[in-house]
């Protein structure tokens, strides 16, 4: 009897304890967070820990999928009315398809006050271009400029150019000294779009033209655009021998192995270069225009954003996490941990090259035209530009023909051109 009674007391005590514990803590919520950044899993675990320390009742589970399969997996899940609470979103057209299908929650200024800090051009990548509604908090931007090898420049005795002619002269000197001046090649069509982003804005008149063409006030058959394509061809002698057979990885290897002195590329190259050759001393400058003070544009585009599933059961918790992702504290963490330019204004990256790239963009930036404005439907401006530039650099199309091919493809779906 005695044993039984003590057992009962024990049981009751345990029961009380259990109830006490559960009632003391607020209900735990676990948010799922899908992404394609399998390579960043450790970094995101760190970010999540910081958030969880500040919000002990919310757990976030980061689940990355294979990059090339992510779009399909996400779209299928969202179509079925499921999917994650927090969604890592691609930019521009990739995001818009999900938003216009109604799968994403609109983010208003009252829900996420920090959105007001972002420049309009950057937010465009996370909004529906018809309604202007915002669906994501941008996480990274990419900046296109000339990346150069400081050691080679010092050895040959060169300085950053201030005019286009100086740029060409520097290239010639490098070539005379046995270096490949520019490692940019043409086998992978998309590398041409990067080259375009670095060079063309300085000759089509930067934001004047890009605004006009995005608003449909002019088209790609504009003489300024054709002129900028013709200027790109002036770089041909300074690209590698047989550059049409040089693929993207070859470009990176040539630069990292110090065969090539310059490469027109995105800010995402920094990490790769440093991994391939830790001794590399990198410098950056924007391609100059014809007169000193002209040009010097860094082409900028948004890399993607974080959004919320429209059918999430934990709206308040999601908004808390999204506000964390929009904070300066997070942006700083992101830039330092991943060595990528955070999209959040005011972040000062510790990495000196990244900091220099950001200051180029702050000084004079222009949208990376096809990515920002013309990637919403097929045939996208990017595809048209990339492939026809391959033809132009192979002497199969003239700059005029490239322009009309781009226009002819875009006019099929880009409403402002149809007027």
């Amino acid at each position: 009897m005695k044993l039984l009674r003590s057992l009962a007391v024990c049981l009751i005590l345990m029961l009380c304890l259990a109830i006490g514990v559960t009632s003391a803590a607020a209900p735990n919520v676990e948010l799922t967070f899908w992404s394609w950044r399998t390579e960043d899993i450790d970094a995101y675990d760190k970010f999540v820990k910081v958030f969880e320390a500040e919000n002990p009742n919310i757990k976030v589970k980061f689940i990355p999928f294979k990059n090339t399969e992510y779009n399909t997996i996400l779209a299928t899940a969202l179509q079925g009315g499921t999917g994650p609470d927090i969604v890592h979103l691609r930019s521009y057209g990739g995001m818009e398809a999900l938003a216009s299908a109604g799968y994403l929650m609109e983010l208003t200024a009252s829900d996420v006050p920090d959105l007001a800090k972002f420049p309009k051009d950057i937010l465009r990548g996370a909004s529906n271009r018809h309604t202007g509604k915002i669906y994501g908090v941008p996480f990274a931007i990419q900046i296109i400029q000339v990346i150069y090898n400081k050691t080679i420049f010092d050895n040959v005795g060169l300085e950053e150019p201030t005019t286009w002619d100086e740029f060409l002269k520097i290239s010639q000197t490098l070539k005379d000294n046995g270096y490949v001046p520019l490692s940019n090649g043409g086998k992978d069509a998309w590398a041409f779009e990067t080259l375009f982003g670095g060079v063309a804005p300085n000759f089509y008149g930067g934001n004047d033209f890009s605004n006009a063409v995005i608003n449909g006030e002019t088209t790609f058959e504009d003489a300024r655009f054709v002129y900028s394509l013709r200027k790109m061809l002036e770089l041909r002698p300074y690209m590698p021998k047989d550059f049409m057979g040089i693929g993207y990885t070859d470009m990176q290897m040539m630069f990292a192995q110090e065969m090539a002195a310059m490469m027109i590329g995105g800010s995402y190259e920094t990490a790769t270069f440093e991994r391939l050759n830790p001794d590399l001393k990198l410098g950056v400058f924007a391609v100059p225009g014809e007169k000193a003070g002209d040009g010097g544009y860094a082409a900028v585009y948004m890399d993607g954003s974080y959004g919320i599933n429209a059918v999430t059961k934990h709206k308040t918790e999601c908004l808390k996490f999204i506000n964390f992702l929009a904070s300066l504290e997070y942006g700083q963490m992101f830039a330092d941990e991943l060595s990528q330019p955070s999209a959040i204004p005011g972040v000062k990256p510790k990495h000196p090259v990244l900091a220099e790239m950001l200051s180029l963009a702050e000084n004079k930036s222009t949208p990376h035209l096809m990515v920002v404005g013309f990637r919403f439907e097929q045939p996208s401006g990017s595809t048209l530009l990339q492939t026809s530039l391959q033809a132009m650099f192979s002497d199969k199309l003239t700059p005029e023909e490239v322009a009309s091919e781009i226009h002819e493809g875009l006019v099929k779906w880009y409403e402002p051109f149809q007027k």
Partner: protein
């Protein structure tokens, strides 16, 4: 099964009809049981996707959302609206070129090697293995290997050309609009040839030696004996091989995707129906961010299927007729 059916035949039907019916039923059940695994796999992974893509091609899509019945709009767009019509025609032309060149190589060089191997001794047996080896490699490996060999900066092909004094011939093989597709076709032939050679060899070994010997005794030259005795007997094999090659070449995708991506780089000069379909249906992976068009992609897939189906059936019919004539 054979034993069972012969047993069954012995039992006279009128003596024990009920048992016979039962046996027949249980036999059918066994047949179905044996067929079921293959049939289920085939239905789930072949018939269902084929039918559903046929269905998709009649639906209007906005990104990922179905918008309702489209009738023949997707087909109309692909067949008659620029730039799709232009790309479709270009891709089709490249597929035909791909097939014709591969066919020519395998029925000249491939057949020659097969005949030589059939005549040859032990040394040539080793060669047979060597010829067949590339076929056992995956296309990804072959594509990557040749990407490295053909690289203009580090590749061995241009270095080799310089070594034998043909430096003038060196070029960016895969980046030049003129040479890109022929280069890929040759790389594909390098991998593929082992298969037709082996099939031809088997065909040749099935032809009785006496026939050729009799022709030689009658005074035929080796070429005449081959041309008028061996070749006609080998024609059905060559015919079947040609149909297989046609199907394979019209579905060509992997090698081109690995070596050139899905944009038909440079400037659509290596674009085939497979890459055109992939790019349209799923968005161009190499440009990034582009939204796929399920309806248009499905329409292309259906057209591909129709072309391959029609030509294959016509080919098989031709071979049958020829066999009957012989």
């Amino acid at each position: 099964m054979l034993a069972a059916s012969s047993c069954h035949r012995i039992i006279p039907k009128h003596v024990n009809g009920g048992v016979a019916v039962n046996r027949k039923r249980s036999r059918q059940r066994v047949y179905i049981m044996f067929l079921a695994p293959a049939l289920i796999v085939y239905t789930v992974f072949m018939v269902y996707p084929l039918l559903s893509s046929l269905g998709y091609s009649f639906i209007k899509w906005d990104g990922y959302i179905r918008q309702g019945f489209a009738g023949l709009d997707n087909f109309k767009k692909v067949l008659f609206e620029r730039p799709y019509s232009e790309r479709l025609l270009g891709a089709l032309r490249h597929n035909v070129f791909f097939f014709v060149v591969t066919f020519l190589i395998q029925t000249t060089f491939g057949l020659f090697v097969a005949v030589a191997l059939a005549k040859g001794g032990r040394f040539l047996r080793v060669c047979q293995t060597v010829y067949f080896a590339p076929y056992t490699l995956s296309q990804v490996v072959v594509g990557f290997l040749w990407l490295l060999l053909l690289n203009p900066t580090w590749g061995q092909v241009n270095k080799f050309l310089a070594l034998i004094g043909l430096k003038g011939l060196a070029r960016p093989w895969l980046g030049d609009m003129v040479t890109a597709l022929p280069t890929i076709i040759l790389v594909n032939a390098w991998r593929w040839l082992g298969f037709p050679i082996t099939v031809y060899l088997a065909g040749l070994q099935g032809i009785p030696l006496e026939l050729e010997e009799a022709a030689r005794v009658d005074g035929a030259t080796p070429w005449q004996a081959f041309r008028h005795v061996v070749l006609p007997l080998l024609l059905p094999t060559i015919g079947m091989m040609t149909i297989l090659t046609f199907i394979y070449d019209f579905n060509a995708f992997e090698l081109i995707f690995i070596m050139q991506g899905s944009s038909g780089s440079p400037y659509y000069s290596t674009d085939v129906l497979g890459t055109f379909f992939y790019r349209t249906a799923f968005g161009d992976a190499t440009t990034g961010g582009e939204v796929g068009q399920v309806g248009l992609g499905s329409a292309i897939a259906v057209l591909m299927f129709l072309v391959i189906c029609a030509v294959s059936i016509a080919g098989v019919w031709l071979i049958r007729r020829q066999e009957v004539e012989m």
